[in-house]
Symmetry: C2
Subunit: 135 residues, 2 copies
């Protein structure tokens, strides 16, 4: 439950933090910008400043509750962190984002890093393009 997540993260359970976390859990958009969150809160008549949204999301990121991505286009997008790692496919036309995970790629990355005496702390794999199928 949200309240627990915040406490575990060592964050005081305040209204803004609770509201933002719940919103992230409730929304059907897995990937949102700080501005998105801010506007969604405005629509709900919640009175939270944009600066606070940024601060809270940054704290959530530090706590591992959310992941911040820098896809194309200035704004960073945040997604609720779920246990498993995954990469992204971003449609340049519609903005649609699909997540995927591939063991072969993950394994090769580790091998390649080792070959270069490199220790991976994180990685980003994003495919940009567009969906061609019916739907």
């Amino acid at each position: 439950m949200s309240r627990q997540n915040l406490k575990q993260a060592g964050l005081k359970v305040t209204q803004p933090r609770m509201k933002i976390l719940k919103l992230l859990e409730a929304t059907d958009k897995r990937h949102v910008t700080a501005e998105d969150v801010y506007k969604m809160l405005l629509n709900k008549k919640e009175d939270i400043g944009l600066a606070t949204v940024y601060r809270v999301l940054t704290q959530f990121e530090a706590a591992g509750l959310v992941v911040r991505h820098h896809f194309e286009g200035g704004q960073a997008v945040f997604e609720l962190a779920n246990d498993d790692h995954h990469d992204h496919m971003v449609c340049l036309k519609t903005g649609k984002i699909v997540e995927f995970y591939d063991d072969i790629i993950e394994k090769r990355q580790k091998e390649i890093a080792k070959e270069h005496g490199f220790e991976i702390t994180d990685h980003v794999l994003v495919l940009y393009g567009n969906f061609t199928d019916k739907k």
Copy 2:
């Protein structure tokens, strides 16, 4: 030769464009920010505005002469485009960037895209971490 590249790209051969292109070809740093370019030009007593550097780099990108990357940390970095695609390994401590290419990963990306009815126009794979070896 630089002059040709510009003409082929449909860009008028002006001093700023020539100087920036030559600088990119001459420097040993493959990855530079707009600010880097601007400062390098200042050091050479070339009088080119930062705005022009941005404009020119953006045109070069559109022309396929350079590639723009958004690694961690606000600024975009540009690299001279050479025929072959490659991915990057970025050291979070030193900023060192190593390029690599792996057929297995490239192939899997295409397969995965196909599985999702997705047409890749571009992709980004960056490993963040740090080099552990001697050097």
